[in-house]
Symmetry: C2
Subunit: 389 residues, 2 copies
């Protein structure tokens, strides 16, 4: 075992995990107890019975988010099961608190059946102000999210899809700015048709991309293929793709490569076949589709990865704390597309001095979550999903 592995284990063992419950009130004598518990607690209960929204005043509901996972698509680890995903979910809750002041709690679900998962999540949602779906495999994650959005009146947000998509869009906006290219002109290749790949493609199209090729493990996703799910098919149809072939064909003349797939898929030759000023986001975790030094030698103009130890990290932790903070602050009933686009633009605008080596703000730069929060709040109000002004 390497010393980094040992450090990671002892870090998690030291406090037996990463989150705990904190009492916001002091209970040191009978008087405290009679307010926090019986008989005093009956008064807020009755208020909420009269008006359910009073729960936002007298309980922590409005600041609570369930981080729900079945452990089927965890980080770069894949299907490790729900219990083994708990360190990731606790980590997510730490980031929610640290960057957004949100009280998030991990909920591990033990079913892989879509209907059952929806029933479980729906039936425990009443105590939460929002639901963050996490590390659930595609295409199940799409179905679960769609059904929950239909049935619940609190934000339901699958972070692997939309957190990633928003972070990529922010990086994309700034990269095009630096390269002096227009969103309606560029050709984009997205590799990886899982949760993040599908959602990123959809958000890029929504924001004005006219030429986009999605690539899955069998090659270019086209309207001619019969072996693709409806989510991939929608993208092929939206872009009217009939082309067949693989990445080597797709990448020719492309302006932007977006990798949400596997290590080592992108070669120097492929970069050399791209259009002028090639932009490469190689976000496979932990090993990118191409290493930055190799990509730079091949003449890349902007290079980004998902890793914190290289420049230009594209990471959804720049998104979800501020986004949920904003949605919770205005009691949004949903996170709609307009709010996602606003979050991406706010994130893109939060870079201090934009350069090819700094296309996004860092996680510890001040004001990042706040910028996302403000944009999301504003757009929630504008689009009528805010239940509190």
């Amino acid at each position: 075992m390497g010393s980094e592995e040992e450090e990671a284990l002892s870090f998690h063992k030291e406090n037996t995990g990463k989150i705990s419950i904190k009492s916001k009130v002091s209970v040191k004598n009978k008087d405290d107890l009679s307010l926090a518990y019986t008989p005093g607690v009956a008064i807020p209960c009755l208020r909420i019975q009269e008006d359910k929204d009073a729960a936002y005043t007298y309980t922590n509901k409005g600041n609570s988010v369930a981080v729900v996972s079945d452990g089927s698509a965890v980080l770069g680890l894949g299907d490790i099961g729900e219990v083994a995903s708990l360190p990731v979910m606790e980590g997510k809750c730490v980031l929610f608190k640290e960057f957004g002041g949100v009280d998030a709690y991990p909920i591990l679900i033990s079913t892989r059946n879509v209907e059952e998962a929806v029933s479980v999540i729906k039936n425990i949602s009443a105590g939460f102000g929002g639901i963050n779906l996490e590390d659930i495999a595609a295409p199940r994650c799409f179905e679960i999210e769609e059904k929950l959005i239909d049935e619940l009146d609190i934000p339901v947000f699958h972070d692997d899809q939309h957190g990633s998509a928003i972070a990529v869009l922010a990086a994309f906006i700034n990269s095009l700015k630096l390269a002096s290219k227009k969103i309606g002109d560029v050709k984009v290749v997205v590799v990886g048709a899982g949760a993040a790949g599908i959602a990123t493609s959809k958000l890029l199209i929504k924001s004005g991309v006219k030429k986009l090729l999605l690539i899955d493990s069998k090659g270019i996703v086209s309207t001619q293929r019969s072996d693709i799910n409806k989510y991939k098919k929608e993208i092929a149809e939206a872009m009217n793709i009939t082309q067949s072939g693989g990445l080597v064909d797709a990448i020719k003349g492309a302006d932007v490569f977006i990798g949400l797939s596997k290590p080592g898929l992108l070669t120097s030759e492929m970069i050399k076949s791209m259009n002028d000023k090639p932009i490469v986001f190689a976000m496979a975790n932990p090993t990118p589709e191409i290493m930055p030094d190799v990509a730079k030698e091949a003449g890349v103009y902007i290079m980004a990865t998902g890793r914190s130890d290289f420049e230009n990290q594209i990471n959804n932790s720049l998104v979800f704390p501020g986004l949920f903070r904003g949605a919770l602050n205005v009691r949004a009933s949903a996170v709609n597309e307009e709010m996602k686009l606003a979050a991406a633009n706010a994130l893109a605008g939060a870079v201090d001095e934009l350069s090819v080596d700094k296309i996004l703000p860092g996680q510890f730069d001040s004001g990042v979550a706040e910028a996302v929060t403000d944009a999301v709040k504003k757009k929630a109000v504008e689009t009528g999903v805010a239940r509190k002004p």
Copy 2:
């Protein structure tokens, strides 16, 4: 609105509820982040994938309890719905933390169907070290608990049943000691055949009571009645009760009255019809079956209620924090009858100077939760349900 009501509301409003999430680790720079989240977090994940029990080492699972309610039988308020029960559930979580160091989190469930409730709770149980069922109406609570105990390998404990039963048994043991009466000789009348009444009757019988009459809203629960559920029937059969009539008939010659029912059911005349040294636990909330001053005038020997503003409060908050602490400490797979009896005896033994005015320790007396914890741990090991020595 009275000033007490205003105080209770502002207490709950001040901090927007009573609990929040606390990060146990510091995340102030990229290095912290790479340990708490990606890539470091992958290492404990893989350990847990290899061995699920490693979740007790690297996550907070082993200290986590879900406080689950459907809001169908809340305090003295009845069926107020799951959202309105949240102040109680948060209060419970505060007591768990304050008295037991347990990280409890409220889970509100929105179904009243037994099978669905079991499916929901089972499917979210993987992240918790124990399940505390709370304020779920009888007889549904019995069925839900039974099924969950069968299916899960973590403690499942319906506090309204067993927390109450254990606290009553502790008070009962000390009261008989003071009255110099033997458990096998006394006649006990339990009024109220809901969750607490049924569980208390069962635990008293288990601990040696030979004469016990249970009374529901229709009168004495006897083997002759056809209008009773199987839980009531079991008690009538165990005690071989054929007697009919109401409380006025049942109470004649009784040594102990245990009220878990409604305000005002017990009269002075009834107390006068009891055996020598009558013992009365009038625990209806917030107004007892008889007020202490009235009972004393009628010649009661020991008088107890559920209220903190009278002497001799019998309250399950003396039980559940220490009991779960003990069960979690040894990774118990269940809370069995022996552990409940041990908890009651430990609680009875934790009174400093036993007297008719102090039959139980106070909630803020030192060493109470610890005494319960130690007894529960020891008994879990002895009975083979401890998975950690």
